[in-house]
Amino acid sequence: MKAKIQVVICRCCSEVPALLNTDRLAMLATDADMVVSVKSVDAVCDGKDLAGVMGEAKEKEVDRAVVLACHKRDVAPALLRAYKRAGVNEFMIKLVNLREEVVLPHQAQPERAQAKAEAMLRAALVRSVMLQPRERQTEEMRTNNVVIIGAGVSGQAAARAAAKAGAHTVILEKTGKTMKAPGVILPHSQLIGAKGWTGNYTLTIRVGEKVEELEAAAIIVATGGGWTELKGPLAKAVKDAVPLYKLHERMENNDLPKGPVVVVDTPDPAGKTLKVQDYAWDDTLETVIELKKRAPSTEAYVVFQEMRAFGLNELAYKEAADIGIRFIRYDKAGAPKVDPKAPAKLAVKDFAQGEVLSIPFGTLVFASIPPNKDNEGIADALRIPMAFDGGIRRGSIQRGPVETVRPGIYVCGSALFPKSRELAEREGEMAGSMAGEFVKTGRTSYGGSVAEVEQEKCSACLTCVRTCPYEAPFIGRASKAEIRTELCQGCGICVGICPSKAIELHHYTDDQIMGEARSLLGGDF
């Protein structure tokens, strides 16, 4: 079947003809092989102009189009929808950005610009002839489950937001703690495996002693931080150090600590075992201030390297200092130590004074939200990458703050990076809302511009399997690579790296890319 191409030349109101001879472009298009319709319009983003184009597209039974206009992201959505109604597959439309690639940047080179535009039209026609129609598939979500791993502050907020959006929430909490949250809460439960793709995951979970399967349309990792014990030399000397959250709990039960209270900023001040030494100063300062207010005669010291009281929390730092809490800065060379023979004294070299202070203490408190040790198992089960500091890695800022590399799997709170409870709650809200809105659609889609392996050419080298960020390629029954369409994001990384050239990316095949490149390089301008 011979192609029937419609060429649309948009004047971008008046900007394009200001530099280019659009009539000549129209003429070249009309004379070109397989072009059955040429429309010049003022603004392809204008409804009336668009209607005229579509009318002729239907009349001439056009099966593909080359549109010379502006940036794809500005004009494509409406254009593709209109063409779809006119019976033209969305993957058969080639957009050429004359405005931002030619007209705007080549103001001082009008002749070359004209020749370049003509070359771009020719190259687009070459590409257009090679295009194939593609269809995206949609699949019903089997459930509207949003599964949340972790019932902490962030996980609970995520559950509430997802439930409000209409999802059914299931919280997997590894301890037996109870809390109020919508949906189902499974205590003593852990994620051990996962299969499937966005919208239709099947999780393997352990609840108590039993191993079960659980369907999930979306997953939120809210494992929080892992409270640890003291590490290193300090751990050997002090046996009853209290993590901050425990101090907080005790104070809530009116069990005030035995003074003097010394708070160290990290469980391992000598820094040999922990690389990440950061936590929520908001909560720490709030707790010591409350302690000092309730027991003014108790001496309180905060021993730290960097006073990371961000934002308005700086005022809490000031308040703490004003009410008599003593702040002592140290650096690694003078890190706090406790002599096991004199276990009630903390020796630390004050950074500014240079003197070693000896602080008698009744209670040693340490605050830290290092990464949760469970993250590794969860990342492994979900097949998502971790951050090098032990948290769960987000995809990229471009994708969004709470999205992991896999679409449909979100991460929030201290599982991402140590943060205050309040911000962890907001992040949970964001992740829950996004997961809930996605699940509400009830459908997931994939396909279209996706990769496909030509099995005969595959040498099963596993390069694609190792390279794909989404784990779409796998070695199938024929001992050759196959691409799971449901997981394929259409990036083409596997295609570009395959040493056997066995993989093709539909809509961006080697022939299409090189054909367009060759045609452009053939142009004389």
Binding site: A161, R308, G354, I397, E427, E429, M430, E437
Partner: protein, 410 residues
């Protein structure tokens, strides 16, 4: 489907707009300035090969989304004059000032080059503001002051100048208001001992970011040469009881450490001294920047708040500061000094805010509250407390989801 009025087109307003549009709600976004992006548009991307997670492109991406998605009504050069309760909803009156330049503008800049006014009456949006259409400030423009000049209209190849553009008064019925008026940078010159305003090569961090965003390299304002020795000073005007504010602006260490890394990317031989009080690198372990600095032979981290910056020899700047342990004083010469300034909330104490029931606290922050949200008024972003772009975006989506799922009307 709710109709939401968003006051402010910065990271908070833009992210909330996208989140609401994605959830099927109607949005009217009102931005006071000539383009979208808020404070973020003045800032530079801090990566050359590797992303440094500063969040600036997040704001630009959301601005592009707002303009491209036809469903959000974006009003630039606009201000909300009043919002009054009307039964279950609100009626908002919005005044749109004329731009005098149409969408045909190609950003070529010929108009600016022929504009006879000193300081230029017609100019492009600052920084990476979206859209890139130029605009005329009628308070500066001779055509409006004297009635004659048409230099820009004659020079414009796209015929995009329209002196007939008029102010418009619009009314919109809405169910909720998002108050996201954002921030202004602190004035570095408030802290006068650093020579700001007097010594040309002492610049604020915002100005340094503007220069880097525009050109991708830093040049001394005095002689246009590339600086070979730079001092970056943190907490200028923040964490102080004297000139400035007591609070910490939260994002300055994050941005300044990344600017420092960018400057070393651009010129690996540049000497950089980073003066700070506490290293508050947001969302990154405190040791990371220290490890990076250790790996670079020409970077020093100096825990000290400098006392003065004066003119040194041969046009250099002399920074006087104590050493880290307060036991000695050092005087060091630099080609350029970058003062990291914090932020002040903007628009929290306006008449409009008051009419909505928003109280500005003593430091000028507008506090969000359950009471306000029950009434349909949602305060979000750095106008409520110091935060960086990433946190702003998160809170904005959380707010949008609360608006979307809120029962009943305002």
């Amino acid at each position: 489907m709710k109709e939401v009025l968003i006051i402010g087109g910065g990271p908070a307003g833009l992210t909330a707009a996208k989140a609401l549009v994605d959830r099927g709600d109607g949005v009217v976004l009102v931005e006071r300035k000539e383009s979208l992006g808020g404070m973020a548009r003045e800032l530079t991307c801090k990566g050359i090969v590797e992303c440094r997670n500063c969040g600036v492109c997040l704001a630009v991406d959301r601005a592009n989304d707002a303009v491209r998605d036809g469903s959000a009504e974006v009003l630039l050069l606009s201000e909300v004059s009043s919002i009054v309760r009307e039964g279950e909803r609100y009626a908002a009156k919005i005044k749109t000032s004329p731009r005098y330049v149409t969408d045909d503008c190609t950003g070529c800049g010929k108009c600016t080059s022929v504009c006879p006014v000193e300081g230029k009456a017609i100019a492009s949006p600052t920084g990476s503001g979206i859209p890139r259409t130029f605009w005329i400030d009628r308070n500066k423009c001779l055509h409006f002051k004297k009635g004659k000049c048409v230099a820009c209209a004659e020079a414009c190849p796209a015929k995009a100048i329209n002196f007939e553009d008029r102010a418009r008064n619009l009314t919109r019925k809405i169910d909720a208001v998002v108050y996201a008026t954002g921030i202004d940078p602190m004035d570095a010159c408030e802290v006068s001992r650093f020579g700001c305003g007097i010594l040309k090569d002492v610049v604020s961090s915002v100005d340094a970011e503007r220069i880097l965003n525009e050109k991708g390299e830093l040049k001394r304002p005095s002689d246009g040469k590339a600086p070979k020795k730079i001092a970056v000073m943190q907490c200028v005007g923040s964490r102080t009881v004297k000139k400035g504010v007591e609070y910490c602006s939260k994002f300055c260490c994050k941005y300044a450490t990344k600017i420092s890394q960018l400057l070393l990317d651009i010129d690996p031989e540049v000497n950089l001294d980073f003066y700070f009080m506490d290293l508050r690198t947001l969302y990154e372990p405190q040791d990371d920047f220290k490890a990076w600095a250790k790996g670079k032979k020409t970077v020093r981290l100096i825990r000290s708040m400098p006392a003065t910056v004066n003119l040194g020899q041969n046009g250099k700047l002399l920074v006087r500061a104590t050493g880290e342990t307060d036991t000695e004083i050092a005087e060091t010469e630099y080609d350029m000094v970058i003062l990291s300034v914090g932020m002040k909330p903007s628009g929290a104490a306006s008449e409009l805010a008051k009419s909505l029931g928003i109280d500005a606290d003593g430091m000028g922050f507008a506090k969000a509250s359950q009471e306000l949200e029950d009434k349909g008024v949602f305060v979000v972003g750095a106008v409520s407390e110091p935060m960086d772009i990433e946190e702003t975006a998160e809170r904005a989506v959380a707010t949008a989801s609360r608006i979307h799922t809120k029962e009943g009307g305002a």
